[in-house]
């Protein structure tokens, strides 16, 4: 399989098939990010299209040899955040306003420790859908980190690069995301001991 860098060089030499290959290879990842972020198929498709349109325009200045995937995801993530800014009402305003600000790096010690969910919950069939519900209620910036890490498999370093945040903030966001999820699952399943 051709590397992304080879495909980009081929595209710049006028090989139309090369850009097609890039689009086909990365549409699922970008769509997944956009869909998990917006939870709306139409918006996700628009954001995916817009991402590749911008990639097409910017490819000629892509630095050869640098990793393509983080660069691509950075474009998509920025578009997602712009989209979010344009949305007047967000359902997570409440969660966000509980003393947390975007991208504020906190020492890990200040992030509260997690406690395990009781075994009975893990055995329930509702857990899977509860998890998805809980995920939808995560603050957006945590959701981005979670998607990039857990479903797209990017490393902490890549995520820091994609979102333009310090490495430690990536760790803090992931940790807080887990806490939020646990809290939401807790509410979903009633008081947990």
């Amino acid at each position: 399989m051709e590397t992304e860098n080879n495909l980009i060089q081929a595209h710049l030499r006028g090989d139309r098939q090369a850009f097609r290959e890039l689009v086909e290879r990365h549409t699922p990842g970008i769509y997944n990010l956009a869909y998990q972020y917006t939870r709306d198929q139409m918006e996700a498709e628009n954001l995916t299209q817009e991402t590749f349109l911008r990639v097409y325009r910017a490819l000629s200045r892509f630095r050869p040899g640098s990793p393509f995937r983080p660069w691509l995801f950075a474009i998509a993530a920025n578009l997602c955040r712009n989209w979010s800014r344009q949305q007047k009402e967000t359902s997570f305003t409440e969660l966000n306003s509980q003393g947390e600000t975007d991208d504020q790096p906190l020492p890990m010690e200040q992030v509260q420790d997690l406690l395990p969910l009781p075994g009975e919950i893990l055995e329930t069939e509702e857990l899977y859908s509860a998890l998805q519900d809980a995920f939808e209620h995560l603050p957006e910036h945590y959701r981005l980190v979670v998607i990039l890490y857990y479903t797209e498999g990017l490393s902490y370093d890549d995520i820091a690069q994609v979102l333009n945040i310090p490495l430690n903030t990536v760790r803090t966001h992931l940790r807080r995301a887990k806490q939020h999820l646990r809290q939401i699952l807790e509410q979903e399943f009633g008081a947990l001991s």
């Binding site: 097609r20 000629s60 920025n78 998890l131 994609v162």
Partner: protein
């Protein structure tokens, strides 16, 4: 001698995520592991992290419609075509402007002092090798500077426009990822 690195609960807890993710140096990994085996409080927190980690791995990946990639390519092609038309239209306008300035310059040359210099040289070509510097000086001195500058500016702008909007080379370069959007 059995060396067991003893680390504090706080130190172990800050490294739990990296420990689970495998983003940890072998020495630190051993210290955290040793600590977890001997400290039930930290072990409980580790289990919670590990549990959430497994849960998050269950998050489903959503796949796009099969035709989406094609639709993207169609949209990119359309945008590309639009850019080509813009470039073509821009080139035509610029070409006409350049021709117009060239024409008016040529008209000006028919009667101006430069025309006299050229006529003189045409009538007596020997001037060219006998007094080359004087001839060039006379031409430069009488060159209609406004028209000449206009031609240079128009040609430069035209070349810049073509380079900017030629397919595959559209838009200014992003210096960083943020700028790329």
């Amino acid at each position: 001698m059995n060396l067991i690195e003893n680390i504090s609960c706080a130190a172990a807890r800050t490294q739990l995520d990296d420990y689970i993710a495998g983003n940890i140096l072998p020495g630190d990994r051993r210290s955290v592991g040793t600590h977890l085996r001997s400290c039930s409080a930290c072990r409980e927190i580790f289990e919670a992290h590990w549990q959430m980690d497994r849960l998050l791995m269950l998050l489903p990946r959503t796949f796009p419609r099969e035709t989406l990639a094609n639709e993207i390519l169609v949209r990119v092609d359309r945008a590309d075509l639009r850019q080509r038309w813009i470039a073509l239209a821009g080139s035509v306008v610029w070409g006409v402007l350049i021709l117009w300035v060239l024409y008016s310059t040529w008209l000006g040359l028919q009667e101006g002092p430069l025309a006299e210099v050229i006529n003189m040289v045409m009538n007596e070509p020997a001037l060219l090798w006998r007094f080359p510097l004087e001839v060039i000086g006379a031409i430069l001195e009488n060159l209609p500077i406004f028209e000449f500058a206009s031609i240079v500016i128009l040609v430069s702008v035209g070349v810049w426009l073509l380079r900017r909007y030629l397919p595959g080379n559209m838009g200014p370069a992003p210096r960083s990822m943020r700028e790329a959007t």
